[in-house]
Point group: C2
Chain length 379, copies 2
């Protein structure tokens, strides 16, 4: 599945007083302007969102987006796959290119400032109602089980998790769109974080962010700022950890990466950098292993050696990731693509890395129930 | 967009004690058996659902479906477009055929028997949170405004609405899968229905149903039981009636019908029968006009002449429609296709109509915010 990304737009991730509709509008107009297009040039759209129903009492978001483009009546629909909604929407947008060109893919989430919203309950809906929610297996608890098992099997340490947090908070300082762009987080801050679910502490957990992100896909590039989608794959798995054979790797991600790399005709060695789904610090380590950037249990060696920092051999989450860049759930998978395109175009300013010709995005729903992987190259 | 429908499966629509997951399982296994396939033969799936988040505390339904197919890890995602979720999912399944073959499209809704669920609030999420929900513009109220305007402009009468209800309840008696299959509804019952929102009374409103429906799509037919998708179109419009120029026609449906008929290379005269989105009786009348089966304001003439009955020139909702067949929201658009395929195959038993070579499905989200139209022919 090959195509061009001819425009990108992303709001700042983080708490805001903007509404769901305003965030959508900002990301869409920004991506259209970046592509040099107007809404009437579009032929279809996909809108990604996870929680607007339970959290904002607003479903039928494709009609909400249609209201922002009066009279156009475009084909359009909403994609939902928990925290992988954005990556899945991108895959759908690429499939839609077979009939429509260009296609807008926009993701949005508005989580903060909703009186009475029970975010723990709502986010829990990404887990099984019976097997997970009913027994209190929240997402921090699930990822804590994952971390415990990874530590037991491979000797991964609390200090390794702290290294992920420190790197990503440091990276976020160079990304003006990052949730924690303005927050100086030190080793001491991280070490003093209160326990959330052992071994995960405060700085092991990504924040809850508002935000939106959009891309414009087309069959052909417009100019050398257009990035190229070289591979796109989605895979699923049983929703609950208790239905899986292993907790230290997500089969959906392994298989999606294999498919996406095959499409792109690359090996893991060809990947210059990656934006991965570090909803918890342990998830970044597992993402690297699932992508084949390190053998199982060996990602921490690259981490300890500084090779995943912006100046290292394989920079991971230069944007700050979900951990410090923010997690605006339905927008996250599309926001990752915006960050990769920024690097490919050499437009990342203080955060620009030196070798950025092939980037990968890795977007996970739930505890590995969905994985969406994209390989993106320079125009 | 052409393809074959090589398998169909539909549960009975109506209140049940089966769970969301059990309903999914029943429809999927039924469609697979009908196609002579096993789950491992599938290459991708789409799951349509509207309210499992707010109503069942279960999002991430693609991972729930993946749990029913252990170890397969298929590409899959959820489609949501309010009451048009099913029709939109079918369109997505057809787009997915460019990469995957065969593709399962399944829709599900579990609305009854959920302690504490506020169905009026939840269903209201298909309307705008500010413009509709906040001012009490529920769906019966919105469609009442539509009916009032249609009556004012075209002289449509309360008796015309009653004719739709009586026809569809009569049709449901021949459909064992219909919500009101066992209910004998008379003219007197309908005339005595209490007012819901003037001019709509009880029998003008479809019921709330549980249910699931599935189809298997493939690029090529298997045998002469395979039906052919000849056209597939989705269009959107601003979510709220107050944002529209007209209330007596849905532009999204008019434009989707035009596109689907163009793809199929047919005119409205070539349509033998249609399953249309009669969430309220007035909606069936408008559907006929939006599809071009009658000029604006003239559908009632066909209705009064009995031409929309099973023995008439253009049978509408032979299944009982949403009105008496039931409205299992996320499953409805796919259930319509199952009903059309049943007719095309001459497998409709007592409900079989004589001329059934080209059928149309018309599936609406909200009050016309989304429309999905499919043209389906004999194999």
């Amino acid at each position: 599945m090959r195509a061009s990304i001819i425009g990108v737009g992303k709001t700042r991730f983080g708490p805001t007083t903007y509404t769901l509709v305003q965030l959508l509008h900002q990301a869409i107009t920004s991506a259209l302007a970046d592509a040099g297009l107007e809404a009437r040039d579009l032929q279809a759209f996909v809108v990604a969102n996870f929680l607007a129903g339970p959290n904002n009492s607003q479903l039928h978001l494709n009609a909400v987006v249609a209201g922002l483009m009066p009279g156009l009546h475009l084909p359009g629909w909403r994609a939902e796959a928990a925290c992988a909604s954005g990556g899945v929407a991108l895959h759908q947008g690429l499939l839609a290119l077979n009939e429509y060109d260009p296609v807008l893919v926009v993701g949005v989430e508005k989580l903060t400032g909703i009186p009475g919203a029970d975010l723990t309950h709502n986010i829990g809906m990404a887990g099984d109602a019976g097997l997970d929610q009913a027994v209190g297996l929240t997402f921090p608890a699930s990822y804590a089980l994952v971390a415990q098992e990874h530590m037991r099997l491979y000797g991964t340490t609390v200090q390794d998790l702290e290294r992920v947090a420190l790197k990503n908070h440091t990276n976020a300082r160079n990304n003006p769109k990052a949730h924690f762009h303005q927050k100086n987080v030190t080793e001491a801050d991280i070490a003093q974080g209160p326990v959330v679910a052992t071994p995960l502490r405060l700085y092991d957990c990504c924040p809850i962010s508002d935000g939106a992100a959009a891309v414009i896909l087309s069959r052909e590039p417009v100019d050398n700022r257009s990035a190229q989608v070289l591979g796109s794959a989605v895979r699923t798995d049983a929703i609950s950890l208790v239905q899986r054979e292993t907790r230290t790797s997500f089969s959906a991600a392994v298989e999606a990466a294999h498919d996406a790399f095959r499409q792109a005709d690359i090996g893991a060695d060809d990947v210059d950098f990656a934006e991965v789904h570090d909803c918890f610090t342990i998830a970044e380590i597992i993402a690297m292993e699932d992508l084949g950037l390190a053998a199982p249990g060996e990602a921490v060696e690259l981490l300890r050696a500084g090779e995943t920092a912006p100046g290292g051999a394989i920079p991971i989450n230069v944007s700050g990731g979900l951990k410090a860049g923010g997690h605006a759930i339905g927008a996250t998978g599309i926001g990752q693509v915006c960050e990769v395109v920024k690097q490919l175009r050499r437009e990342a300013g203080q955060g620009q890395i030196a070798r950025a010709d092939i980037g990968v995005t890795h977007n996970i729903g739930g505890v590995g129930g969905t994985a969406a992987i994209h390989v993106i190259g320079r125009g």
